[in-house]
């Protein structure tokens, strides 16, 4: 049992990271911190892919002519793409946060909600632009 836990330590780490990231996204009201959480969450998935490509004792898949065990390079390549996607997401998210800060004057979710509520109310009264 303990062996099984320890031999799969990479999965435990990944699960912990994943839950941590999700928790941060859900619980933090600060928009930047949410993006940090999202990053942690995504990183855990990157680790999942990278670790599953690893073959114990395997080396990088470079053909040297000798019979060697290779790690599976495919997940690593996939994750390169995923990292790029992650960076783009982060950049876009941060850009949005900048614009939100410019229009609302805050990046705290609660304050934004309050000012949106009052805007909603004025919409219903029909005095919108």
């Amino acid at each position: 049992m303990v062996d099984a836990l320890i031999s799969h330590y990479n999965y435990w780490l990944i699960i912990i990271l994943m839950m941590l990231g999700l928790y941060v996204v859900v619980s933090r009201g600060n928009l930047v911190k949410k993006i940090v959480g999202l990053n942690i969450f995504q990183t855990s998935v990157f680790l999942l892919y990278i670790s599953l490509g690893k073959v114990s004792g395997g080396t990088a898949p470079i053909l040297t002519g000798k019979p060697e065990a290779f790690s599976n390079p495919l997940p690593h390549v996939l994750i390169l793409t995923a990292i790029v996607v992650g960076i783009a997401t982060t950049a876009l998210g941060l850009a949005l946060v900048v614009r939100i800060r410019e229009s609302y004057g805050t990046i705290e979710e609660d304050d934004i909600l309050i000012s949106e509520r009052s805007q909603d109310a004025s919409d219903i009264n029909g005095s919108s632009a």
Binding site: L22, V45, A88, L96, R99, I124, G126
Partner: protein
């Protein structure tokens, strides 16, 4: 031509993808109109390609295209069969119809110096959606999904000129959309772990003996949840109303008509091609998770829609309900049910496209789409409002419209599955649609105009023409449903035949 024909699958995606950076070049000199024309031309080319692909798959056989000549399952395969050719046609068709409408709408709603970048994002979004649909590689789906999602966030945020809430809507969608896509990619990873392949056809084969494997179950769950988020399956729909409401009109038209449909398609693909209803856990999920959620969505969406004061938000909630119908058809997993889903993917694109386009016309003239400001609009904008009402009738499912065709099959599906109480629920939820459509009718036709002194004109012809094309299609395919039902039956039989 003979040189191009075999490469159509890759051109379908490559053309808009290459067009996007070219479009940016129009910034030098600020040729806004040229950028629009260019996007329009690209959309039409995509539409023609999709049409050619569909006719080829329907009349001939499925197409398998190996990117870079790497044979599947090693290389990335683009695989075209009736279902995704049909979805490709919907996406590119809506884009081709929506873009003539776009110029004036974008002119009005988006800051002038952003137009060219706007069209670039639009092209990327189109690329993404087409790519998700055409590819036969699971990881490739994720990549294209993110291309479309990222550009969608940008497109939604450009609504900031009308309302600053577009920014928070885009931000929230970004957070939830990313979580959804990441869930999806976890699921793919887990499946890769046990099968060692990413090719969809290959996955389906290698999963056959693994139906009791826990990892497969977990992967399946992640994929369903991830796609559920992207397609706004109740209760994961919270991002949708704000995103639709505050996005620019063109973006709402395009997204409402296409993006959730693409996610429905991906879900269908995984449920029926990769796994198949014969797997016990798939069946359980369909019956005990998707079925109840779909029914709740039908009602929650419609009831919430009744209480909205913003017309766009009203129809956004109605979309949640309509996605419920699509999911119900999936959950029934019999031929008429699946046919209803596939028909509704097409039909709902037509009706929501028309409805949001009509609201775009209202926005163009009025600058707002709150119901309170639409009083008496039936008199000053008769064509727009008539289109809105006709689209609404289609949404209700009045006979003679496309909505009726999909509801008919859905009810047949429930009766065939023996769930007759659900048939009554479907009917009851259509009646809720009557209520919210009639709210608009009363405001538009039975109220007096608020500001009598300012006379409003009808929307310009370049916006009305595409709108009415969609409205007429709503009725055309409601009366002559041969083509659509034929495709839907074809697809439904493939899905269910392959699975069992």
């Amino acid at each position: 031509m003979n040189f191009i024909m075999p490469h159509l699958p890759v051109l379908q995606v490559a053309i808009p993808l290459i067009a996007a950076p070219i479009c940016v070049l129009f910034t030098f000199g600020g040729h806004r109109k040229l950028a629009w024309l260019f996007t329009l031309a690209v959309s039409w080319v995509c539409f023609l390609i999709a049409g050619a692909l569909l006719s080829r798959v329907l009349l001939d056989t499925d197409i398998s295209y190996a990117i870079g000549n790497w044979p599947p399952p090693f290389g990335i395969e683009y695989r075209v069969d009736p279902i995704n050719a049909f979805v490709l046609l919907i996406i590119s068709g809506i884009s081709a119809i929506a873009l003539p409408f776009a110029r004036l709408s974008v002119e009005k709603e988006i800051e002038t110096d952003r137009h060219i970048l706007f069209y670039t994002s639009y092209l990327l979004c189109l690329t993404g959606l087409l790519g998700v649909t055409i590819t036969g590689d699971a990881f490739n789906i994720f990549v294209f999904l993110e291309i479309s999602s990222l550009s969608t966030y940008v497109l939604i945020a450009t609504g900031v000129r009308q309302d600053r809430r577009a920014l928070t809507a885009a931000y929230n969608y970004l957070i939830l959309g990313t979580i959804g896509a990441t869930f999806f990619v976890i699921g793919i990873g887990l499946l890769y772990m046990v099968t060692g392949t990413l090719n969809i056809a290959d996955l389906a084969e290698r999963l056959q003996p693994l139906s009791d494997n826990r990892v497969v179950h977990a992967g399946f769950a992640f994929i369903v949840i991830g796609m559920g988020l992207k397609l706004a399956l109740f209760p994961m729909h919270v991002w949708l109303p704000n995103a639709y409401t505050y996005a620019p009109s063109l973006v709402t038209v395009f997204l409402a008509a296409t993006s959730t449909k693409v996610s429905v398609y991906v879900l269908l693909r995984f449920l029926f091609t990769v796994f198949g209803p014969s797997y016990g856990f798939v069946n359980l999920t369909l019956e005990f998770v998707l079925l109840p959620l779909a029914i709740v969505a039908m009602f929650a969406g419609s009831i919430t829609a009744i209480f909205q004061t913003n017309a766009k938000r009203l129809f956004a909630y109605s979309s949640v309900a309509q996605l419920g119908y699509m999911m119900l058809g999936v959950a029934l997993s019999n031929i008429p049910g699946l046919m209803a889903t596939i028909l509704h993917i097409f039909n709902h694109a037509l009706m929501k496209g028309a409805l949001f386009m009509a609201l775009g016309c209202v926005m163009y003239r009025l600058g707002t789409i709150s119901l309170g400001s639409m009083k008496g609009l039936g008199r000053s904008m008769p064509w727009t409002m008539a289109a809105l009402i006709l689209g609404g009738l289609s949404l209700i499912g009045v006979p003679g419209t496309v909505g009726f065709i999909s509801k008919w099959h859905l009810i047949l599906g429930t009766l065939e599955a023996g769930f007759w109480p659900i048939a009554i629920l479907i009917v009851a939820s259509s009646l809720l649609a009557v209520i919210y459509i009639w709210k608009i009718v009363e405001v538009a036709y039975l109220e007096n105009e608020i500001n009598q002194e300012k006379t409003l004109n009808e929307a310009p012809i370049s916006m009305l023409a595409p709108l009415w094309v969609l409205v007429i299609l709503n009725f055309y395919f409601g009366i002559d449903a041969d083509l659509t039902t034929w495709v839907a039956r074809n697809v439904a039989e493939t899905f269910l035949g392959g699975g069992s």
